[in-house]
């Protein structure tokens, strides 16, 4: 039955569907992680040695990694939103696949830019 099981999912393997999934999932993950992010930020800058502890906190590789993830999520979600706006408000047709590529490129570019900034 494995051929039949695969078949219910194979029709969803096209770029636009992937874009739809990325948009949805990034939205979901943002909703989960943004509150956590602000809470952690709040914790870090509270108390006596505010600046000190904040700086130490941002040096933490785990923080850097989490922040990189957030930036990529934000960019991916923005890209997905732009794709929808172009299809639904501007009425893009043949440009749609390019809109998807654009959304992904944007996500990746933001992520990499952030990564480069961290490295510097």
């Amino acid at each position: 039955m494995s051929a039949l099981a695969a078949s219910s999912f194979r029709r969803r393997t096209h770029p636009a569907y992937v874009a739809f999934l990325v948009h949805r999932l990034s939205g979901l993950m943002l909703a989960l992680f943004l509150p956590l992010h602000f809470w952690a930020l709040g914790q870090a800058i509270e108390g006596e040695a505010r600046l000190e502890s904040f700086l130490r906190w941002t040096d933490n590789p785990l923080t850097k990694f989490a922040e990189l993830g957030l930036v990529v999520l934000l960019a991916a979600h923005l890209g997905g939103g732009l794709r929808l706006l172009f299809i639904e408000l501007v009425g893009w047709r043949d440009w749609q696949s390019r809109a998807i590529a654009f959304a992904f490129a944007l996500g990746l570019a933001f992520g990499l830019l952030f990564l480069l900034n961290l490295g510097a």
């Binding site: 039955m1 051929a3 039949l4 695969a6 078949s7 219910s8 999912f9 194979r10 029709r11 969803r12 096209h14 636009a16 569907y17 874009a19 739809f20 929808l84 299809i87 639904e88 408000l89 009425g91 893009w92 047709r93 749609q96």
Partner: protein
């Protein structure tokens, strides 16, 4: 799942496979076809997990290891084997007001519709639908919400929204604006990806979204 061995032949289509099986191997096999040339829209099935018109799908293009899996279309009740019940699919065309409504003075006046007018261009882009149900079978929203009118019916409604001679616009916009109408579409473009006529129902539905939103802003909905 049944397995059959079918001898390969040049330019063989998926429909040829199914026909061979019925004629030579299993006369009880049920399936539907008519024109065999991509016009009638009756031969659609799920081939290797993707909805396709089988009379225009070459085996050589889809059979990887010399094997294909053929199933009935999704999102429609199976009558028997590869034959599905398309009643709901076509009823939804009626529910989306997919029938032309002539205006009172249609008999007296000829409507002049320049081929290059924006409305005619929009209608032209969506008009060649053969009613095969491929888009409907590909659409997740149909699976999630059985009342959803679906890409084909909404695409049809969009051609009529752009028909200057039609006199049923307010009712049509109302019919496609509801919970099960155009605004339920998630724009994931499975319909456009698989439509064998290369139509773009996603774009048509986006047009309906704009048209209904404009009508709502004007207080007409």
């Amino acid at each position: 799942m049944q397995r059959y061995e079918v001898p390969a032949a040049p330019s063989q289509t998926i429909l040829d496979l199914v026909t061979y099986i019925q004629r030579a191997l299993d006369p009880t096999l049920s399936y539907r076809f008519a024109c065999r040339v991509g016009m009638c829209g009756s031969c659609a099935m799920t081939v290797n997990g993707r909805p396709r018109w089988t009379c225009r799908t070459h085996v050589a293009k889809v059979a990887g290891e010399g094997e294909v899996t053929i199933e009935p279309l999704k999102n429609m009740p199976v009558v028997k084997d590869l034959t599905v019940d398309m009643r709901e699919f076509f009823d939804k065309w009626a529910r989306a007001r997919g029938a032309f409504v002539p205006s009172e003075d249609a008999a007296r006046d000829f409507a002049v519709v320049p081929p290059s007018s924006p409305e005619r261009v929009e209608a032209d882009a969506a008009i060649e639908c053969i009613g095969c149900g491929v888009c409907y079978a590909a659409c997740d929203v149909v699976a999630w919400n059985p009342d959803y009118l679906g890409p084909a019916a909404l695409n049809r409604a969009w051609t009529l929204v752009n028909d200057l001679r039609d006199d049923g616009q307010p009712e049509r916009l109302l019919a496609v604006a509801g919970d099960a109408g155009c605004h339920a579409c998630h724009s994931h473009e499975s319909c456009r990806t698989y439509c064998p006529k290369s139509l773009n129902p996603t774009a048509s539905i986006a047009g309906l979204k704009r048209a209904t939103a404009r009508a709502a802003l004007r207080g007409e909905l």
